[in-house]
């Protein structure tokens, strides 16, 4: 039986922005490990950037995710190597559940970007000057609308349109609505078995019968 999940195309995302400044923001900062003692992703949103947002007595610290003006934001604007560290999908899950639909940054750790794609969240890149200018603009215009055109690789904000880069595979996956790969790959089950049989290390007994 193949699954019947509806996979929406993500050609564009729009919303107001929230800037998170700094390079090398790792997944332990995005979602500390102690909040991963769960068997579902539900409710992770409130723990996004937890240790950066709250002190030991749970009092709020200065952080964009705590600021009223960013509570409705859906586009995260970050710097370089964002999402480095662990493979935990809890990180993009927490951001998504907080309300983030797209991320613009200088660069992303690969597993993190892959995890975002699996959730239909574009991770688009631009050079550091462009990003800093965008962060400044978001800072000054917390309600300002940003529009990310995934297919055209452009971001429009204020009266400006800037070029951004979207990884080829990511762009196709989002625009054509094939970012959820399970059904797609399941439909190739025969070809998978064929590849498998040609591998000397796989026991025939481990290869399932055709459905």
């Amino acid at each position: 039986m193949t699954d019947e999940v509806e996979i929406p195309a993500v050609d564009s995302v729009s919303g107001s922005g929230v800037p998170i400044r700094g390079n090398d923001i790792d997944t332990d900062q995005i979602i500390p490990a102690r909040f991963m003692k769960v068997v579902t992703f539900d409710g992770l949103g409130e723990f996004a950037f937890f240790d950066l947002r709250f002190d030991d007595d749970d009092a709020q610290k200065e952080h964009p995710f705590n600021e009223d003006r960013y509570q409705d934001s859906s586009v995260l604007v970050v710097n370089s190597n964002f999402g480095c560290g662990s493979s935990r999908e809890h990180a993009p899950q927490a951001l998504m559940r907080w309300g983030i639909d797209a991320i613009i940054g200088e660069s992303f750790a690969e597993i993190f970007a892959g995890n975002c794609l699996a959730l239909g969240i574009p991770t688009v890149t631009a050079d550091s000057e462009t990003i800093e200018a965008l962060q400044d603009w978001v800072d000054a215009n917390p309600d300002g609308e940003l529009e990310i055109d995934v297919e055209a690789e452009e971001v429009t904000y204020g009266d400006r349109t800037i070029d951004v880069t979207v990884d080829d595979a990511q762009r196709k996956a989002l625009v054509e609505g094939v970012w959820d790969t399970t059904a797609l790959m399941k439909s190739n089950a025969d070809a998978v078995r064929e590849t498998t049989r040609a591998l000397p290390y796989v026991d025939d007994a481990a290869i399932p019968e055709a459905e």
Binding site: T40, F41, C84, I111, Q170
Partner: protein, 473 residues
């Protein structure tokens, strides 16, 4: 065909087809799972009414949340018990082998795969864990994946990936006294940066790599991800084959060894293979490396000064300043003499038998410094047992170390083993991110296992070469 890398060859052998996205659909030869990242994937399967396609190529362990002191069930912490129970149910329903703690085979996923012979050259190996790169030490193509991809692998036996570039890291020369595999990889990350490997797979080669045992090669491949590379590997050779022979799989199926060896030989990188980039490191010049900051790339030789932020590339300066503030270190000084409160000897980077042996030779006949909490957390139950048999457990305990059960423990502080307040920890693990070891004010200094032993004894970051080894008869 010639001029191909191991990466090209293994990739091609496992490619089912190219997907409409341009990604390749890769067959997965071994899928390792653990309790933290798999339950949501099993949940997604249930939602879609799908079954595990290749249960026999899937293997489970429990490592992140498992208590390392009292392991009686139910676990004291409800959340840990719930995760364990969920994993037990999932593997039972799907018919997946599970190295649970009652088997004597349990341990950190990247320690047990190689021990049992599940990890083999020329396999594609994935796990919902970024340090899956460890298995590349055997000439496997191994990388970490996210939970949605775990769902894909469970449901289809395949994963969608884009092919990456290959950077050869040629490490020539010979390691000096007190310098280890860990120092090679810390140096590589220091030089190339934590994002230097993004878009690349690292092939580690050269005489310094070839002369390492499998454990050293695993320590290096393990931290490929800290350098931004999703995978790293070493071409299989006699050292690899000697290890494989001793594993469960080839002990039980000795005929498979000769059957598979031609395949292993065939996937080695060709002499004239093309690389997208080549980097040279001279092992002779290395000394023990320790980190001074809060990313694994912020490392320095033990006798070298901590860098002035201004001396670093512009984009690194801000991070460096914040890191130095958090760690409370002064540029211009060395890390030697930095007070520590905790010594952690563990993790999938450095908690295998030879790691513990080398560290034990340092602590033998000495005592852990007053006020230092020191613990050894073996990487697996087998390491734990073998180490106890050799007397290493006694050596550590006599010196004042706590001897724990196998698990991830203080590498990420998901169980009860955590730093408290602003404690500083000399750690043989792989990540020094803020908050990583369970306390957001905690301070982690990464180093090789003998350096951890030396720090435990002296109470401060110390050059292990200054401590004379006491060798037992």
């Amino acid at each position: 065909m010639s001029a191909e890398t191991l990466y090209d060859k293994v990739w091609d052998r496992h490619t089912v087809t190219t997907l409409p996205t341009g990604q390749d659909q890769l067959f997965v030869g071994l899928h390792l799972i653990h309790e933290v990242t798999s339950p949501q994937a099993f949940g997604m399967l249930r939602e879609r009414d799908l079954e595990v396609a290749y249960p026999e190529l899937t293997h489970a362990t429990v490592d992140h949340i498992v208590p390392t002191a009292d392991q009686s069930r139910p676990y004291e912490e409800d959340a840990a018990e719930e995760m364990m129970a969920e994993l037990e149910e999932n593997v039972r329903d799907a018919g997946i082998d599970f190295s649970d703690p009652t088997t004597g085979d349990q341990g950190i996923v990247h320690v047990i795969g190689p021990e049992q012979g599940l990890t083999q050259p020329g396999k594609t190996i994935v796990c919902g864990d970024s340090h899956t790169s460890t298995h590349g030490a055997f000439g496997a193509l191994a990388f970490g994946i996210g939970t949605s991809q775990i769902r894909d692998v469970l449901a289809t036996g395949t994963v969608a990936m884009e092919k990456q570039k290959v950077r050869k890291i040629q490490v020539d020369g010979e390691l000096g006294d007190g310098v280890e595999a860990k120092d090679i990889i810390l140096e590589i990350i220091r030089r190339l940066g934590t994002e230097g490997g993004v878009g690349y797979v690292y092939e580690y080669a050269g005489e310094a790599i070839e002369s390492l045992g499998m454990e050293g090669r695993m320590s290096i491949c393990n931290m490929s991800i800290e350098g931004g590379a999703r995978a790293g590997y070493v071409n299989p050779d006699e050292t690899t084959y000697e290890w494989l022979k001793e594993t469960d799989y080839f002990q039980e199926n000795p005929e498979r060894f000769e059957e598979l060896k031609p395949y292993w030989e065939s996937i080695r990188s060709d002499e004239d293979a093309d690389y997208d980039d080549v980097v040279h490191i001279d092992a002779d010049e290395l000394e023990p490396v320790v980190t001074w900051g809060t990313t694994p790339g912020q490392g320095v030789g033990i006798s070298d000064p901590i860098p002035e932020p201004e001396s670093l590339p512009a984009e690194k300066q801000d991070t460096a300043r914040r890191a130095q503030e958090h760690m409370r270190v002064e540029p211009g000084e060395t890390m030697a003499g930095y007070d520590i409160d905790v010594a952690f000897l563990g993790s999938c980077t450095n908690a295998r038998l030879p790691d513990l042996r080398r560290a034990a030779r340092i602590v033998e006949g000495r005592e852990v410094a007053d006020d230092v909490r020191a613990m050894v957390v073996p990487g697996s139950q087998r390491v734990q047992e073998a180490a106890a048999e050799e007397g290493l457990k006694d050596t550590f305990e006599e010196a004042g170390f706590e001897w724990r059960n196998a698990g991830c423990s203080m590498c990420l502080g998901m169980n009860e083993d955590q730093l408290e307040g602003d404690e500083a920890c000399a750690s043989s693990s792989n990540r020094n991110f803020v908050g990583r070891q369970g306390s957001k004010d905690g301070r982690t200094v990464l180093m090789n296992p003998r350096m951890v032993a030396a720090a435990a004894i002296t109470g401060e970051v110390s050059d292990v070469r200054d401590l004379k080894e006491v060798t037992s008869v």
